[in-house]
Symmetry: D3
Subunit: 112 residues, 6 copies
Amino acid sequence: MKTDRNELMKLMKLMNETDNFFSEYGLLDDKVYGEGAISKKHKELFLLAISIVQKCEECITYHLDECIRQGAVKDEIIESIKMGMMSGGTTSYPYIRKIFALLNEKKIIGKT
Amino acid sequence: MKTDRNELMKLMKLMNETDNFFSEYGLLDDKVYGEGAISKKHKELFLLAISIVQKCEECITYHLDECIRQGAVKDEIIESIKMGMMSGGTTSYPYIRKIFALLNEKKIIGKT
Amino acid sequence: MKTDRNELMKLMKLMNETDNFFSEYGLLDDKVYGEGAISKKHKELFLLAISIVQKCEECITYHLDECIRQGAVKDEIIESIKMGMMSGGTTSYPYIRKIFALLNEKKIIGKT
Amino acid sequence: MKTDRNELMKLMKLMNETDNFFSEYGLLDDKVYGEGAISKKHKELFLLAISIVQKCEECITYHLDECIRQGAVKDEIIESIKMGMMSGGTTSYPYIRKIFALLNEKKIIGKT
Amino acid sequence: MKTDRNELMKLMKLMNETDNFFSEYGLLDDKVYGEGAISKKHKELFLLAISIVQKCEECITYHLDECIRQGAVKDEIIESIKMGMMSGGTTSYPYIRKIFALLNEKKIIGKT
Amino acid sequence: MKTDRNELMKLMKLMNETDNFFSEYGLLDDKVYGEGAISKKHKELFLLAISIVQKCEECITYHLDECIRQGAVKDEIIESIKMGMMSGGTTSYPYIRKIFALLNEKKIIGKT
């Protein structure tokens, strides 16, 4: 089974035979989460928190990387995690632990 | 750990010692999702969409197979996916990609 | 406060000054839920069920009307309600009761 | 529009013409939440907490009354609310405030 | 029944007889959503979007006011609404319409 | 990537440099779910049911172990599962099957 994100995104685009739904949805998504009155960095910090609330592991991994790519520093990322935890409740715990494992792996937190 | 779906369903039935809850719940489930005023095919297309909304990967795999078994064609399955995506919002993306990987593997979509 | 659905939809369109997001999102929505490989009637029956699962009272009222407008008969509507109830679990009860009150008011169910 | 809970429950039972779904679902519900290995009081305390997590106002009102009817004392009810709040996260706040308004009205809390 | 937010918050604090749970939870909440590495304004914009995703009407009204109080301008608020809509999916529509009614009433949008 | 629960909990505590959020949240969690007017055993039975409703596999595994550690017997655990299933709806099925696989593995259910 294909698992590569980009290849799968291409497959989705192939679905545009009948209409352009998947491309148009993707364009809307880019528009909403791109640079704007709210910066792309703050939008990615929001998406990290919402991924915790919606308990989506793959989303967490992706948006954590995006936060870093947009220049979010450790303290901003930690605050985003706290917002996700307060809004998502105690069943967010396993997802929070996974983020900390990722942050440790990326040497953003942890003793050196 | 047992992981076979049918064996686990049998285990559940064994729980009927005290009352028949799991069997009765299963019968209700069959009644609601069986052939009726709405066809079983349309019900499975609904269940595929709702599995996306509820972000349940195992449900997606199962109901995609059921859709095909009930004779749903590619265009119906794609429309069901779109409904799940519109109702479920952008955090459905990882689940949508997995369906496309499955559809590709089953040669329902993709270049030939 | 304005509460009229159509007037509010117009307000939303006014927001298109900077980009066309709300109009484009609306067009995607129309495309996904319009007549297609799956009929608009079956899509509205799906939307009634999903409104129960997502416990959205205003959505229920709206999509029940749409189901009727698309020619869904009593037995189809009842089956859609059952699917919503099975998928949504027992906390759907208050919403189910409201649909029955609406169906009774519209003389679709109840003794005459 | 009818709003009386019992009348609406009767309407639902009328729907049993074709099959007994609504009655059978109701019986399963009674079986699961009746007196058992876990007492009905503890089950109602659970249902109060889950109603907070699922943000269902009508469920909260109903299960709070049921908790009291089953003999739950103030400290048990407060602990159930706390569990709902920890599991449901900060968006539970408006629902928590409503429970406190109800508890005050019923003279279970508040200065005398 | 008391409905005033502040009075109800006071009632909640009265519950601190046995332990300080409600006060401590409130302090954590203040800490997480106060000024920090991420500004309070951006946190309120996040809370507006998450209130849409979680379909909590009272939360929407409250956090919209907080956004304005923290100096968020129209374009930032509109972007927050769009993020909530993309993440929350089409069942967010009724909530989006209510925000637009509020924004119109507050003369933040609409023709002059 | 670290996956050990306790090590990850320690990492989280390291985040207390700036404030004590993660420790304080943990203390609140312990307070709410510890022995009280409602016994810790009943609270764990609640947490097992809520883990099913929130479809959190890691939570299920953890709280099932906690139920057993707190002395919950088979019939109490089965009733908790039934409550989770009724409240969580049919998309809980895959999670229910996993619990039965775990119960079988722990020799709590199954033929001997």
